[in-house]
């Protein structure tokens, strides 16, 4: 059985799925210890497309991502963090207060968001890219996923909750429901993971869900 460790090492390849726990993806700490423990790759995947399905805009979906984005933009060899066709303008003082380095943040304008998102993901100049799209076709999603892997970029696509019924090639799909002082995250799809739900409380003060 001397070949067993070698075999185990071979099977650690990211392209090999072996049920729960064996799909090794380079992970990115989310900033929430409970979420890191719960997510299939022990954090956000370092590259690839993830989908966040929120019931409505402003359900706390960005606060879930901000700690990871802040860590990415503040790294020494940081690439861009691009916001493609955001529904409103991201407010620079709030981003700075959340710890994002604004000299690594870029915003791409509204026309043809999916084409722009694919360009951004595949360019290799971005660490992370966020996009908001209404109804992407499965074929387009597949292209986005391939582009994200090519550019080694974490692509985050925000979609309405109703999209949960459709199939998607994304690495990770999460559903979000806002709670009084936190958010309920439902795992819809993840490599080597079973569906489940976790409730996260916002750290004191950060998004300020303290009811007065």
């Amino acid at each position: 059985m001397e070949g067993a460790p070698k075999l185990a090492r071979l099977l650690e390849h990211p392209a090999i799925w072996r049920g729960r726990g064996a799909a090794r993806l380079e992970a990115l700490a989310s900033g929430f210890a409970a979420l890191d423990e719960w997510l299939p790759g022990r954090g956000w995947p370092r590259s690839g497309l993830i989908e966040i399905l929120a019931a409505r805009f402003g359900s706390g979906e960005l606060y879930l991502l901000l700690p990871a984005l802040a860590a990415l933009t503040r790294a020494a060899a940081a690439r861009w963090c691009v916001w493609v066709a955001p529904p409103l303008m991201p407010f620079a003082p709030a981003l700075a207060a959340a710890g994002l380095a604004l000299d690594r943040v870029a915003v791409v304008g509204g026309a043809r968001p999916l084409w722009a998102f694919e360009q951004v993901l595949g360019s290799g100049a971005c660490d992370a890219a966020l996009a908001w799209a209404r109804q992407p076709k499965p074929r387009e999603l597949r292209r986005l996923q391939l582009a994200a892997e090519r550019g080694r970029t974490l692509g985050v696509l925000f979609r309405p909750r109703s999209a949960a019924r459709e199939a998607s090639p994304a690495v990770l799909r999460l559903g979000l429901t806002p709670l009084a002082a936190g958010v309920r995250v439902t795992l819809l799809k993840g490599r080597g993971a079973v569906r489940g739900t976790i409730e996260l409380a916002w750290p004191a003060g950060a998004p300020g869900r303290t009811r007065g």
Binding site: M89, A96, V105, A111, G212
Partner: protein
């Protein structure tokens, strides 16, 4: 030579027939006096010193008199006009043309002519608009001029004046070795150049290079891909032009000329200098595909802005970002692709401005550069009051029921209000009480109430 002699007595400097190849002036032994006056310089003295850009502009427009235009900041312009004098009706004609041109720009000038550039300028600075054509007469013409016309440092002039040397003639009479020791070798070299004893090699002003080519099409074209094919020879020519000069372009304009309508302009701004014709062609294709042409195209033209030095980068051994490398080429490629398809406003960066009013607390910037040298931001995030992640472009008026704002249901106000006021200095005066509010679905909003009547409620941000 006959054309040169505008006045009697000025024509006695016959060009020596050259039986052998004339050596370069700079290599000629200094002990052989140069008597042939191979050069004739026009010294243009601006009576008021001009800023460097104005001088550059003047030098570029003087390029139509001669290719050899040299600058003597802040008040001198030198033209070598020996070869082109006859084209401008001799000395008088040229002097008139230069003076007129400067007068139209509001600059008063004195123009003098001499076989050496410094002598011409010294004569002009002394206010003597003479033309000294004979090198042998040069020393005599310069002798009575004050030394101040040479533009030497003030302390040197003072030392010379203390020794009783006030004119160029007096300075020329001093022993050379002693002069160099007491007043500096640079001053002796200047005197030598003044009298033509040594060659005065000057840097010539060159206009920035541009590329401009036009091609008439054999038939009128409507299809943009066909137009791109027709542009291919021009692009190839541009590529050769840029490669030969080791330059790149930052701006490329393509003009498509129609029969009746005004020409369609297609302007492409690049994020970094590009010298590769194929890449320019791809980007231009994107731009053309987005165009709507009013009419078929009869001919097309490519124009560039001023060329910029371009250093082609060799392919890296490491992948971008590995071992401390940068991502600048990926980033500029992305910027160009987005701009080519979506327009120049397609991508921008964000900046945090020092302003207490939400509208003035942020701004758009150029897309951030991704160089390899970057200090990691070390400052801790500022302890600022809580702000929403999203800001509406304009505050949006909210309905009010029972004195409380209403949006998809009654809004629940959370916590204490934050008052943001004033801005009288730029006309953007505000007086608002900001609240965090939760709507019935649990979405957090940033709303405010006007402090002035009618105390309206507005939505200004979403917390995300």
């Amino acid at each position: 030579m006959a054309l040169l002699s505008t006045r009697p007595g000025e024509a006695h400097h016959p060009a020596t027939p050259a039986p052998h190849v004339v050596p370069l002036r700079a290599l000629a032994p200094p002990h052989l006096p140069d008597t042939s006056a191979r050069e004739l310089w026009a010294g243009v003295y601006l009576t008021a010193p001009a800023p460097a850009e104005a001088l550059q502009r003047l030098a570029r427009s003087a390029g139509r008199y001669t290719p050899r235009v040299s600058l003597e900041p802040p008040d001198g312009l030198l033209l070598e006009v020996k070869g082109s004098l006859h084209l401008f009706a001799g000395i008088t004609g040229l002097k008139l043309a230069v003076t007129d041109e400067c007068r139209q720009l509001g600059i008063r000038t004195v123009v003098a002519f001499a076989p050496t550039p410094r002598a011409a300028l010294a004569l002009a600075r002394a206010g003597r608009p003479h033309a000294v054509l004979d090198p042998s007469a040069l020393t005599g013409a310069l002798a009575p001029l004050p030394l101040a016309t040479l533009g030497w440092p003030r302390d040197v002039l003072e030392r010379l004046a203390r020794s009783g040397v006030r004119t160029i003639g007096a300075a020329l009479r001093l022993p050379r070795a002693g002069f160099a020791r007491r007043f500096g070798a640079a001053q002796l070299a200047a005197l030598d150049a003044l009298t033509g004893r040594t060659a005065d090699l000057r840097e010539v002003v060159r206009a920035p290079l541009r590329f401009r080519r036009r091609r008439e099409l054999t038939c009128e074209l409507e299809n943009t891909s066909a137009i791109l094919v027709a542009l291919a020879p021009l692009l190839a020519e541009l590529g050769t032009f840029l490669r030969a000069r080791q330059c790149g372009v930052l701006e490329l304009e393509c003009r498509l000329v129609h029969r009746h309508s005004p020409p369609t302009r297609c302007l492409m701004r690049l994020a970094a200098p590009v010298a590769d014709a194929q890449r320019l062609g791809e980007l231009l294709g994107e731009r053309l595909a987005a165009l709507t042409l009013p009419e078929p195209v009869r001919d097309c033209e490519l124009r560039t802005d001023a060329l910029v030095p371009y250093r082609p980068d060799c392919p890296h051994l490491w992948r971008p970002g590995e071992h401390g490398g940068g991502f600048s080429s990926e980033a500029s490629g992305l910027i160009e692709r987005l701009r080519a398809r979506l327009g120049d406003e397609a991508i921008h960066g964000l900046a945090f401005l020092e302003g207490h009013r939400p509208e003035k607390a942020w701004g758009k910037t150029a897309p951030p550069a991704l160089g390899c040298s970057r200090k990691p931001p070390c400052h801790e995030p500022a302890r600022s009051p809580r702000r929403p992640l999203w800001l509406l472009p304009e505050p949006q008026s909210l309905a009010v029921e029972d004195g409380l704002p209403w949006r998809r249901g009654p809004l629940l106000l959370l916590g204490e209000p934050e008052r943001i006021e004033t801005g009288w200095w730029d006309g953007g005066e505000i007086a608002r009480d900001y609240y965090t509010a939760a709507d019935p679905h649990g979405v957090l909003l940033w709303v405010f109430r006007e402090r002035d009547a009618p105390h309206g409620w507005y939505l200004h941000g979403v917390f995300g």
